[in-house]
Amino acid sequence: MTALAQRPAAPKPPEHDRPKWTQKLTPVVSVYLALVVLLIVGSVLVAVDGGMLLDQGGILNILTRSTTLGLVAIGQTLVILTGKLDLSVAYLIGLCSLIAAETMAGDPGNIVFAVALTLAVAAVVGLVNGLVITRLKVNAFIATLGTALIIRGYLENGYEGPAGEVPRAFQHLGYDRIGPIPISTLLMLALAGLAWWYLGRTRGGYHIYAVGGDEDVARLSGVRTNRTIVKAHVLCSVAAGLAGIFLASRLGSGAPYVGTDAGYDLESIAAVVLGGTLLAGGRGGVAGTIGGVLILATLDTVFDDLGVTPFFKDVVRGVVLIVAVALYARRQVSRRGK
């Protein structure tokens, strides 16, 4: 301890050398600024093209797109904050949409049971992911890729196309709205709020940051790191399960590849990273993630309105992702990316 006390003051972190106004540009602020700029530029472009980006339909479009991705990305944020990854969410979404739709089988009386069952299955998948990572010491990338392959095998073996039927009453979840804002989006935002509160105000949330910052230090400080990692994976899978339920409600049935066709595994990781969360873990949060999700959804909507071919979207998305992360990385030179 004395050695520590005698040490000269630590050199100032590089943040203090930058001009004052840039210090306020945290990733979260930057991502929402970028969103505003994108909305303005997008509106102008669409207006020049003779359309209207932010009319009732446009807002609805952006928000609906954001809801599914947002649900997945909220869960993914928790996992990435612990320094792990979840590649199994895409197939899990398909699986959950099927379980929900098949259990409901068109009967409104089954809704509660079906939702509970779907979330329970999702939680078990997350539990398996977490236990494989922490107990068997398998790298998260491989563990969740393995889980994804297993679920995919089950889906390919058992399903050729959509199955099950969602009762009419349950479709209200996918289609009802208050003004221009869908109820499902409000639910997604509520979940985001809950996650924000959990991460920033509770002990469990602090533990997630601690584990992501440095797992060994966290363990030595008395954090139950394994339990924290398992918890993050369970929550992530449950969020993916909610996305599956929402999609089942939109589609009216379960679809095995609804999650993979949209690429929700890599897309959700992209949204989280776009939102300023470090892929290595320990820094970031849900607020940025929602901003990232909104940016991706707005980009999609703008391109749709402009009639750009869907493949061009991928090109732009790739460039945006790299540029955004490169900008964040400049301020974190000390933490070299893995």
């Binding site: 010491k137 491989i142 297993i150 995919r152 390919e156 890599l266 992209a270 892929l279 990385a329 990316g337």
Partner: protein, 336 residues
């Protein structure tokens, strides 16, 4: 001592699994009663094995390359469009493909090392860009055709007494394997592994970390170009040639006991992982296991293999922890 470490780190397990699979193949199908069957297996596995070599360089230096699948697709589609059935164009198109692969690798490497973007994100972005660009260019249906000369490498072979037909791809594979082994034994190869193990140490030791990691991405891009030549010849032109290859090749490398995060594992083991994966698919096919179960089995096996490997390396955890303690002590001493 190095040898003992290697055995626990997963080179041996993958070779044992491979041997079991090869014996099982001999029992499962009459095709594997003579060398031709195994040569055909090697021919099928050659593209994945070559990709695994490239991916190994990146993974062992501490990165990921998710862009190889879409790079393979892009290469094949570009080649078909440029050659368009014209024999004379083969040679320069081959050169162009290698150049394009190296260029994509260079971009990946430079963005990773200079802009400090994690390689997972860089190559994910590159995947999106390449995928989108290919579809944008072709509209989903590639045009043009490959020349016969181009397809020879992937498709045919030459007669050898006793062995039967030896595919050209196997010869090419052998050459690349030898080159890769010599590369990894040389100074550059060793330093590359050291970069994955402890970047700071290499930096302090005067190693050019950025240059080495960029080199790894360039080699990975080149391997994708070569794999594209083989796959284009073997499977023909389509916009789906490279689908899912990136995850399959990472699986193969990890199956070979190479540690994600870098610093551990040999290039031969990475290739053995790729061959094991292909042998497994062949066996499942011969046993009549359907496509769906195939991927489930693949999932179980990679989890099991990696769990086994990390259980093995835990024997040495004690030592590693001691080493880390020593490092920390030295660091504090240096700071004072």
């Amino acid at each position: 001592m190095t040898r003992r470490l290697k055995l626990t780190e997963g080179t041996l397990p993958v070779l044992v699994v491979l041997a079991i699979l090869l014996v099982a193949l001999a029992f499962a199908g009459p095709a594997f009663n003579e060398p031709a069957g195994y040569l055909a297996l090697l021919k099928r596995a050659a593209p994945l094995m070559i990709l695994a070599i490239g991916q190994y360089f990146v993974i062992v230096s501490g990165g990921f390359d998710l862009s190889v699948g879409s790079l393979v697709t892009a290469e094949v589609v570009i080649a078909a469009r440029l050659i368009d059935g014209e024999e004379g164009a083969t040679a320069w198109v081959l050169l162009f493909m290698l150049g394009f692969g190296a260029l994509v690798g260079l971009v990946n490497g430079l963005i990773t090392t200079r802009l400090l973007v994690p390689s997972f994100i860089v190559t994910l972005g590159m995947l999106l860009v390449l995928d989108g660009a290919v579809f944008l260019w072709t509209g989903g249906a590639p045009r043009g055709a490959l020349s016969d000369a181009f397809r020879t490498v992937g498709r045919s072979g030459f007669e050898v007494p006793l062995l039967g037909q030896v595919p050209w791809s196997v010869v090419l594979l052998a050459v690349i394997v030898v080159a890769a082994v010599f590369f990894m034994r040389g100074g550059t190869g060793r330093t590359l592994v050291a970069v994955g193990d402890n970047e700071t140490a290499v930096r302090l030791g005067g190693g050019r970390v950025e240059r080495l990691r960029t080199l790894a991405f360039v080699l990975s891009g080149l391997s994708a170009a070569v794999a594209a030549v083989l796959l284009g010849g073997f499977a023909g032109v389509s916009a789906q040639v490279g689908d899912g290859l990136e995850f399959r090749v990472i699986t193969a490398v990890v199956l070979g006991g190479v540690l994600l995060g870098g610093g551990r594992g040999s290039v031969v083991a990475a290739m053995a992982g790729a061959l094991t994966l292909e042998a497994l698919f062949s066996l499942l096919n011969l046993l009549g296991v359907s496509g769906g179960l195939e991927s489930a089995v693949q999932g179980v096996i990679i989890i099991a293999a990696v769990a086994y490997a990390s259980a093995g390396s835990n024997l040495f955890r004690h030592k590693v922890v001691n080493q880390e303690k020593k490092n920390v002590k030295e660091e504090t001493a240096a700071q004072q």
